[in-house]
């Protein structure tokens, strides 16, 4: 059963679209901002296959069964009944171990490459060349093919074995279910692999948790590939990001950090100032610990804003007489971070 209850709160009304967009990794500054406020940022992209239709059906059902209430602003809150169910589920549910790496890769692509690459290597280790490969997008298939061509003469089987064994040990020590599921779901010679339903039955987890478990596995694989040279790094390296920021935001952030002003960056990059500000907001949300706050929002500004806004940042109402929306949002983020600390 999928219920996504863990993303809702009894105290805080939460925008349902933010939860959906976070899980599916539809990145807008607004989504990222609210995801951070709800403390679900690290779930970004944890359920990419979730469709709008499924999500809506789910919300309808939760409302219908009086587990959630939904207000006219599309914000949902757990009812007492919902909170009780959530509490009961907490003990059995899967808690991810590698989600701090949420930004490292699109796990949807990682899993496709990994499964096909392992299948190809497995069939090869049994000297098989007549088999139906797992169907993934053609471009990805070609990448795996190239990877195999570059590697098979160089003892691929043993090197991949060592890679996977080291990875398996790391997973096993973190949570044995990670290793069990990963190696049971891989496809290979005369081996079909667990479907999510089968994994759920074997590991006694909900289907939803299997989703998150597998996302966690792929983040772990990605983190492994980032740190250890070997066939996995060759396969997955190009999929790994260097920063939580998207590429364009990263460029903007670097220029800003070097001392350029928003207007200069805007002209240089031929982007609207508004876009540049969005990039900087993204940096403030995703890497607040690296941001130079004195530059982003100098102290005198903060004092003015501090007089106008008090209490929980998510409840503030923007007042255009005090500052621009950009500064207001930055201050919200800043105060959120300060409160967390």
């Amino acid at each position: 059963m999928t219920n996504l209850l863990r993303f809702f709160s009894y105290h805080q009304p939460r925008r349902i679209r933010v939860i959906e967009n976070t899980l599916c990794s539809r990145r807008t500054v607004a989504t990222l901002f609210w995801a951070r406020q709800y403390d679900i940022l690290k779930w970004l992209g944890a359920y990419r296959s979730l469709t709008r239709h499924e999500f809506n059906d789910l919300i309808d059902e939760l409302v219908h069964t009086k587990i959630l209430t939904l207000n006219d602003k599309s914000e949902a809150k757990l009812t007492e009944k919902g909170a009780a169910i959530l509490k009961k589920e907490e003990a059995d549910r899967y808690e991810p171990a590698f989600f701090d790496w949420y930004w490292l890769a699109n796990t949807h692509r990682v899993v496709q490459r990994l499964l096909l690459a392992v299948q190809v290597a497995s069939e090869y280790s049994y000297h098989q060349n007549k088999y139906a490969p797992l169907t993934i997008p053609l471009g990805e298939m070609q990448v795996v093919k190239q990877w195999f061509r570059n590697n098979y003469q160089y003892d691929l089987t043993n090197r991949l074995y060592l890679d996977l064994q080291r990875l398996g040990k790391a997973l096993d020590s973190e949570d044995p279910r990670l290793a069990t599921d990963l190696f049971n779901s891989l496809i290979g010679y005369k081996k079909a692999g667990w479907t999510p339903n089968q994994a759920a039955a074997n590991l006694k987890l909900s289907l939803e948790d299997i989703q998150f478990l597998r996302h966690d596995e792929m983040l772990a694989v990605s983190a492994y590939a980032r740190n250890f040279p070997g066939p996995l790094q060759q396969l997955l390296g190009p999929l790994l990001r260097t920063s939580p920021l998207n590429r364009s935001a990263e460029i903007t952030y670097n220029l800003y950090a070097q001392g350029q002003e928003i207007e200069q960056i805007s002209q240089r990059r031929r982007l609207k100032q508004n876009t540049i500000q969005e990039h900087l907001l993204e940096a403030a949300i995703l890497i607040p610990e690296k941001v130079n706050w004195n530059r982003f929002l100098p102290e005198d500004k903060r004092i003015i804003l501090g007089k106008a806004y008090e209490g929980v940042p998510t409840t503030w109402k923007f007042n255009e007489n005090v500052s621009s929306f950009y500064e207001f949002r930055l201050y919200q983020i800043y105060q959120g971070v300060v409160n967390e600390e």
């Binding site: 499964l115 497995s122 280790s125 996977l164 049971n184 891989l186 290979g188 339903n197």
Partner: protein
């Protein structure tokens, strides 16, 4: 002209068979002689061999037109398993740079699977003009006929496409076509002199039964009883994905068998895993939806049960045809509760828009979005020069026809005589001999009297820890 020995040699070498099945050799000989052929072979009688074998004797590329991506995928997988790698799918999933790259090197493929819409695209047709086309294959050719239940208007484009490809030798394939539809296929393709090779649609080793129940709950119990008795491998068809998923779970719990849902809502990876497990008998029963094409290449499927009736006899025959490809005793059961046909009516209903509305869309004064799910279908007709009046009349006719087809289906269910005879009569054939295990009309106590050959089922796969799984996966032999 290739000798018979030569054909048999390739049959053995490429496909591992010692002899042809009925209809195969005649079709292949005609194709190799450059004749156009319309072949009707029942499901599971080896249709794909008809173009795969000549492909190895002809120079150039074979183009196979198929209506569904899942059907194409099945064929591609099958060729891969035979060791053939020069295969590509050219469909709506292939976009951007990847599509350009494939179009550039089209001639390097032996088999190109594609859809009618794709061939309607100028870039694609241009790319094919640089390719030596050995043969054009129209799979599921009955889709071109407005008289048939699976009519797809895009198929009407194929006549022009064939002209533009320079009229290559053409093979039209179908599993189910009444004589009237066969005529219509040839007319719509503009190939009136094609040779027809028609084998009986009858599958004598499949026992036919209908089980009527009064209420839903009774149906579930009946299903459970059948699965418990006959175990598998088997396929159960449902009208909806949700129902297929729920019942898969329920049956698995009740029977202890490994059972999975299989429909368009599952991911490509799941689909791959389920197919493989089913092939290896690790999964015993699959709960499927009719709408999802499934060319699972499994010979020992012992039963096909319909939990909901299909919308016509063509589909019914196609679906039960997945049982007993090995020729051994198999079983087809249709479960029916009063009023089940309402589900089908609801699923297949088309809201026919008023002429005025279509006129406004045609004149771009209104977006076709207002037509909802059917927008694409109506757009197709509008784009291909049908007037709103014609369209409305086509769809009214279609609606009438679908009701007729459903009535034929109900006729089969309520038939008080031999079911096989009813089926064959519908397809313009006669029942030649009365056989022993024919249908529940002859054998009322079939549930106890019919024995199905046992298959080796792997009910509990050995559970290995991850280290052993890994060693097994990469053929590592160390301790």
């Amino acid at each position: 002209m290739k000798s018979r020995q030569e054909l048999l040699r390739i049959l053995k070498k490429q496909f591992g068979f010692n002899s042809f099945r009925p209809g195969q050799e005649e079709t292949i000989i005609k194709l190799l002689a450059g004749e156009d052929v319309l072949t009707v072979l029942p499901t599971g009688a080896g249709k794909s061999l008809l173009y795969q074998l000549p492909a190895y004797l002809l120079t150039g590329t074979v183009i196979i037109v198929s209506p569904l991506i899942s059907l194409m995928q099945d064929q591609v997988d099958r060729l891969h398993r035979q060791g053939e790698k020069r295969v590509v799918m050219l469909n709506s999933q292939l976009v951007g740079a990847e599509r350009t790259a494939v179009l550039k090197r089209l001639q390097s493929f032996k088999f190109v699977f594609t859809s009618p819409e794709m061939l309607d695209n100028d870039n694609v047709l241009t790319a094919f003009n640089n390719v030596d086309v050995a043969m054009l294959v129209i799979d599921e050719a009955h889709c071109i006929s407005q008289w048939g239940p699976d009519f797809r208007p895009e198929y009407l484009l194929l006549k022009d496409v064939r002209q533009q490809l320079g009229k290559p030798t053409t093979l039209m394939l179908t599993a189910t076509a009444t004589p009237r539809i066969r005529q219509d296929i040839q007319a719509k393709m503009g190939i009136n002199d094609a040779q027809q090779i028609v084998e009986s649609v009858d599958r004598p080793n499949i026992f036919l039964a209908v089980q009527k129940v009064y209420r839903q709950q009774e149906k579930d119990e009946e299903l459970l009883r059948l699965v418990q008795k006959f175990k598998g491998p088997g396929i159960i068809y449902f009208a909806s994905r949700k129902m297929a998923s729920q019942m898969a779970e329920w049956l698995a719990e009740r029977t202890g068998l490994n059972i999975a849902a299989y429909h368009a809502g599952i991911t490509a990876i799941d689909r791959f895993q389920i197919q493989r497990q089913f092939m290896a008998n690790e999964l015993q029963v699959i709960c499927a939806t009719s709408a999802f094409g499934m060319g699972i290449d499994k010979n020992d499927v012992r039963f096909v049960i319909h939990y909901h009736l299909p919308n016509n006899l063509e589909n019914y025959l196609q679906e039960i045809g997945r049982a007993g490809r090995d020729g051994k005793q198999s079983l087809a059961v249709l479960l029916y509760a009063d009023g089940d046909e309402m589900i089908q009516r609801q699923l297949t209903s088309i809201d026919i828009p008023p002429v005025e509305l279509l006129q406004q869309i045609k004149e771009h004064r209104l977006s076709s979005v207002v037509l909802g799910e059917q927008a694409e279908l109506f757009n197709f007709y509008l784009a291909h020069h049908s007037s709103p009046e014609q369209i409305v009349s086509i769809f009214k006719h279609r609606k009438y026809q679908m009701e007729q087809e459903l009535q034929e289906m109900l006729g089969y269910i309520n038939n008080r005589g031999c079911r096989r005879k009813y089926l064959l009569t519908y397809f313009g054939e006669q029942l030649s001999t009365n056989k022993e295990n024919c249908c529940d009309f002859d054998k009322e106590e079939w549930q106890t009297e019919i024995d199905l050959p046992a298959s080796k089922l792997v009910t509990k796969p050995k559970k290995l820890d991850w280290q052993e799984q890994l060693k097994l996966l990469l053929n590592i032999d160390e301790n």
